[in-house]
Symmetry: C2
Subunit: 361 residues, 2 copies
Amino acid sequence: MVERVYNFSPGPAVLPYEVLEQASRDILNFQGTGMGLIEVSHRSKEFMAVTDQAEALLRELMRIPDNYKVLFLQGGASSQFFMVPMNLLGTGKKACYLNTGTWAKKAIKEAKLFGEVEVAYSSEEQNFVRVPQASEYQISDDAEYLYLVSNNTIYGTQFPEFPKADKMLVCDMSSDILSRTFDVSQFGLIFAGAQKNLGPAGVTIVVIREDLLDRTPPNTPTMLSYKTHADKGSMFNTPPCFAVYIVGEVLKWLKKTGGVEAIEKINREKAALLYAKIDESAYYRGHAEVASRSLMNVTFNLPTKELEAKFVAEATAIGLNGLKGHRSVGGCRASIYNAFPRDGVVKLVDFMRKFEKNNPA
Amino acid sequence: MVERVYNFSPGPAVLPYEVLEQASRDILNFQGTGMGLIEVSHRSKEFMAVTDQAEALLRELMRIPDNYKVLFLQGGASSQFFMVPMNLLGTGKKACYLNTGTWAKKAIKEAKLFGEVEVAYSSEEQNFVRVPQASEYQISDDAEYLYLVSNNTIYGTQFPEFPKADKMLVCDMSSDILSRTFDVSQFGLIFAGAQKNLGPAGVTIVVIREDLLDRTPPNTPTMLSYKTHADKGSMFNTPPCFAVYIVGEVLKWLKKTGGVEAIEKINREKAALLYAKIDESAYYRGHAEVASRSLMNVTFNLPTKELEAKFVAEATAIGLNGLKGHRSVGGCRASIYNAFPRDGVVKLVDFMRKFEKNNPA
């Protein structure tokens, strides 16, 4: 095995090394075809099997009911910000959005192009340190859906559980899909860019309830209608084959690891180790309110900006990479997605302890 | 080296083996970072350099003038079918389209959602056996652009040279970009899905004249405006990193091979070998008219459907893969893109000769 660093990057992010090893072989000769993985026709039986298996595994691991379609799309989560309202809203129709961070805000901006948007909650004035409890916002009776971002990568907040609303939920799960169990049937639509828990950048997963496929207004461009892709099994045009393949391999790894229940247990343990260190003294201060803390992205500050810079530099020097926080929060961020190894968290906690001792405030 | 077949697939298609070897290594450990290529942040200096170099090489190899932007987008060429008119047309405005095959037809359908479309030429009634000469169609004075597909993968036709029109050209070059020299300054916009001459499926190259970036109507979704991506160097959202990386590696290979002039010479020679065999007897019949023949996709029929099936099966058995023609043309298709080796063409011609001898009509 080559020397690996611990990669705390928020995305693209660490992937299971066995997935990379498999890809490294398949890219030269895929399943003995004498062609590399990215040279094989997307309509070949070999590649169709890749897509079918990725979908089947996702259905199994997330327990997706039969009346939902799974789509592999391009354009990133950012394209879902407009595709959701383009397909599900319409002039005079209303949707309810919870503004819990940068990605929610961008989604709100796009939704306003297609219908009426009701921002039922916002933590923007508190620099997004929290997500709301259900009692803190009201959903209009005539709202088509309640939109939320389950985990806010930049701020390190996460809905500890999903709202039990009468409305169907639409959720951006880009940064925590497959990290914990939940009931898909509450949702009309779930989407996730792959580059955190699922695979490489370049493919976006959409899980959509079948009856919603008929809501798309006429004169929507063919490629922007969910139905186009649902009807053709995500093969209306050439899919991002390599990215879909990696997603399939990551799902195989997740199943072998014990599935979502098992990874959730590991994720909770990893996060608990880090938050315990943060709470141990006043030296490290968590950005997120305790009740809104994310299991995926742990954001924290040190006593001064200078110490933060020194912390990141020294961590990098010992193979703890990607800890610099997002510019809108500053400080540090440890992204510890599904594939991030527990050992890396232990090493970080140990480093935090030593750094605090050696660099008193 | 692993055993390689000759892959005549129309796309995803054969890539230079040295590119696959490099990717196979980088996917495990990218430039000694201790992280795999697809785990590295798109904002890291290592990955930014990948994007910058890919763009610089494309500019150099295609001789792209400074007043053009190069974008790396997602969604395939199929997304350009609507993005072009969404950004460049508008209610009451007109564009002129040449209908030379399936992909042109799909582009026409999407353009009609955004403005008036004048189909100035169509070879549909002749099953798209030809592309027009400039004398065969008229362009309205008030047309915003002339749209054409430079190479028609399915039918094996190609514009031998680009129209010398007063209008700016908009061109889908998905299946022949970088295969021959031409003057970019005739074009307002060029796009190409990567999975033929450029790399893997999952990234689309757009080359757009800068002044066109301001034509996008207000209320266009952010992700669908070319300006969004131009202003952010294709980093408005996470790009399809792996696909962009492979494009960069393919461009390095092309430069080493001698650039577009050198590959054009090789492409002409490869195609000439195949067409000479087709013209040698009445046994093989080319689908495309001689003056419209493609250098990239050579389409031909045998005396009977049974012989065609036998031909494809026997070819596959000796490592000549992917020769089955598209269902709308039938027969055989040999796709011989930039990375397809001359040796494979020689082997195919030899096989064609033997097959004809052993299987008289």
